[in-house]
């Protein structure tokens, strides 16, 4: 009985502490808000004040006099953190600087899926102006709360299939954002243009990497449609990558690797093998190019974040979420590893930039 009472007391205490924290939190934000508001208004954004002086007047913040944004990640990895940075940079480029005239609350489930709903619920309390979610699971978790807080998502590969909107042009769940798909076909096509004469592609991937499996499916579809041959070899862990890559040498004219964290962790071995054997290698991300493979066609993760922030600005300028179509971000940057170019003794044709987009040259990262 005593324990039961103690327990109840403990729970009440917990709730009380929580309640206090909540109220102090909101006080704090209003206080600092009034303090800094006047100094930080830069004219291009009129912040809380609803003075439409330059015609670019923004919505009033939902609570306090500063905007409050949330960013939700499932796990910290290079790509997601770049997207998050892109969003913050994009807001700053529009005059909304975290800690000055807006608050950005960043939360990450740290790979623990059970935390995702808790994080999203904590941001659906009505005090946020916009909640940004990076990649599919956080977006679904937030959208399914049916919150009145608008959601702008970043890099959801298939928003309609994910159920976050029914029509790319008419968002209907108070959520819109950017979508990106790995353009496997375009990468292979660019490969054929960059290093002509390829008859057989080698496909190297890990079977448990869903993104890689999907990209390879698209790659096979492209190769089949264009009458090209391919040799596939799969791995289950990064220890098998070297042997798998060796088995392809001599059999293929070029290699294709997807966004595959298992292959990525051993990709420098693959890169060395390809250079020794004079085989051009194509991949799906600039990170893999920096690890030594020849080239990719992609959108940089920072740019996706920037574009996501632009959509948020569109909302803040007064457009309803339902009137902001979901954007598919095109892959428009060709990343080429100049060390690989030198090792293979090839020249990048001038037509590449015209047909596929700006070329950025990278070198091996040691």
């Amino acid at each position: 009985m005593k324990k039961l009472i103690a327990l109840c007391l403990a729970l009440i205490l917990l709730l009380a502490v929580a309640g206090c924290a909540a109220s102090t939190g909101s006080n704090e934000s209003t206080n600092t808000g009034t303090g800094t508001d006047t100094n930080t208004n830069t004219g291009s954004d009129s912040g809380a004040a609803s003075e439409p002086d330059t015609g670019t007047g923004l919505r009033a913040p939902v609570s306090g006099d500063k905007y409050k944004f949330g960013i939700v990640l499932m796990v910290e990895n290079g790509a997601f953190l770049d997207m998050k940075q892109g969003i913050i940079d994009g807001l700053a480029a529009n005059g909304l600087v975290d800690g000055e005239n807006c608050t950005v609350n960043y939360q990450c489930a740290q790979g623990d899926a059970t935390n995702l709903n808790t994080i999203c619920q904590s941001m659906a309390n009505g005090s946020y102006d916009i909640v940004f979610t990076v990649a599919t699971p956080p977006t679904q978790a937030f959208v399914n709360l049916e919150s009145s807080t608008p959601n702008i998502f970043c890099s959801v590969a298939a928003p309609v299939a994910a159920g976050v909107l029914s029509d790319m042009n008419a968002p209907d769940h108070n959520a819109t954002g950017t979508s990106n798909a790995v353009p496997a076909g375009s990468i292979l096509e660019m490969g054929l243009a960059m290093t002509p004469g390829i008859e057989t592609f080698g496909l190297l991937y890990c079977t448990s990497e869903v993104n890689a499996v999907n990209a390879m499916e698209n790659a096979r579809a492209y190769l089949d449609a264009n009458g090209l041959k391919y040799e596939e070899v799969t791995v289950a862990n990064s220890g098998e990558v070297q042997q798998a890559a060796e088995s392809l040498m001599g059999k293929v004219d070029a290699l294709f690797v997807a966004n595959d964290s298992v292959v990525q962790s051993a990709v420098t071995l693959v890169s060395d093998l390809c250079r020794e054997n004079g085989i051009p290698s194509y991949c799906c991300s600039a990170t893999t190019v920096q690890s030594g493979l020849l080239a990719t066609l992609a959108m940089s993760d920072i740019s996706i974040g920037l574009q996501t922030a632009e959509m948020a600005m569109e909302y803040l300028r007064g457009t309803d979420i339902a009137a902001i179509p979901c954007q598919v971000v095109p892959a428009d940057i060709v990343s080429v590893n100049s060390d690989a170019v030198a090792a293979l003794g090839i020249t990048v044709p001038d037509t590449i930039a015209g047909s596929y987009g700006e070329i950025q040259y990278l070198t091996d990262v040691q």
Partner: protein, 301 residues
């Protein structure tokens, strides 16, 4: 805390409590470390989502329970008949289930779009608000499960499973099939884990191949926090303490997410420290008791 956060924590606390019951059965009653959990949780999630997407939410929950029992049966078979170490048997089933789950989901992610029925929507169709339906159904599912498991572990078969965990040699001497009891226990444990997954899938309205990560830790922590507070007693009290532990664990995380003054990357450390403090309650109680004895001793000397 805003109401959506408090209700959210309560709802999830009850849903994950069902997972904690499953862990309690394998970890405490059967006395077997079962690592199938993350696989069977996702299996339940995937099966429930797939069947719900086909238009049968209630069947989805039932199918998830059956799926989990099957996963438990596989682990049990590996452990008993093939004499594979329990930890390895669980790992084997868990990793095998990854491919099975991908096959069930059809891709890495399956969404239950807003025009699809879920059990929670069916409940709100009874005239409840969304929040009330979610809370009510979570509590109902959890309490129903609690009643059934408490009843089951008082039946003859339930007693045999408990005895198997306590002393397999004794049970064997009583002509009870130890292998069958262990397998049955694992079936029940994983059925509950998958039940929890199946309910969570319909609660969050999507199933992702990564949705099971972290569930083993959640379940174990819930069981142990509950024991730290209530103490190890009978099986019935054990289930109640698992429920309490699951609620406390969820509130700890909710508090860490909402009120931590630290940056986001500190989340796991902050919650680890709070969990450690919760687990240290018996130790504090022990020291307090000793101090009392010492004081009392001084008075009487």
């Amino acid at each position: 805390m805003s109401s959506v956060v408090v209700f959210g924590a309560i709802q999830q606390g009850f849903l994950y409590a069902i997972l904690a019951f499953g862990i309690f059965i394998s970890f405490r009653i059967l006395n077997v470390p079962d690592l199938t959990t993350e696989g069977s949780f996702t299996f339940g999630l995937a099966v429930s989502a797939a069947v719900t997407a086909a238009g049968h939410p209630i069947l989805g929950i039932l199918a998830a329970i059956v799926a989990g029992a099957l996963a438990g049966a596989v682990t049990g078979f590996l452990q008993t008949k093939l004499m594979i170490h329990p930890v390895l048997a669980g790992i084997i089933t868990m990793s095998g289930l990854y491919s099975v789950n991908l096959a069930v989901l059809g891709s890495s992610n399956l969404a239950l779009t807003s025009n699809m029925q879920t059990v929670f929507k069916l409940a709100s169709g009874l005239g409840l608000s969304n929040e009330a339906a979610r809370t009510g159904l979570s509590v109902l599912l959890c309490c129903l499960t609690l009643a059934i498991v408490i009843w089951f572990f008082r039946t003859h078969v339930g007693m045999c499973i408990r005895a198997t965990g306590d002393n397999p040699d004794m049970v064997r001497a009583s002509s009870i099939n130890v292998h069958r009891m262990t397998t049955l226990g694992l079936c029940l444990s994983n059925a509950l884990v998958a039940f929890s997954g199946g309910a969570v899938a319909q609660y969050q309205k999507f199933a992702d191949i990564s949705s099971g990560t972290g569930t083993l830790v959640v379940g174990l922590a819930s069981v142990i926090i509950g024991e730290a507070i209530i103490g190890k007693r009978s099986v019935t009290v054990g289930f109640f303490s698992a429920l309490l532990g699951a609620m406390i664990y969820r509130f700890i995380y909710t508090a860490a997410i909402n009120y931590s003054p630290f940056p986001a990357y500190m989340l796991k450390l902050v919650s680890a420290i709070i969990v450690a403090i919760a687990l240290a309650i018996p130790a504090f109680r022990h020291y307090a008791g000793q101090a009392k004895i010492r004081r009392g001793g001084g008075k009487n000397a």
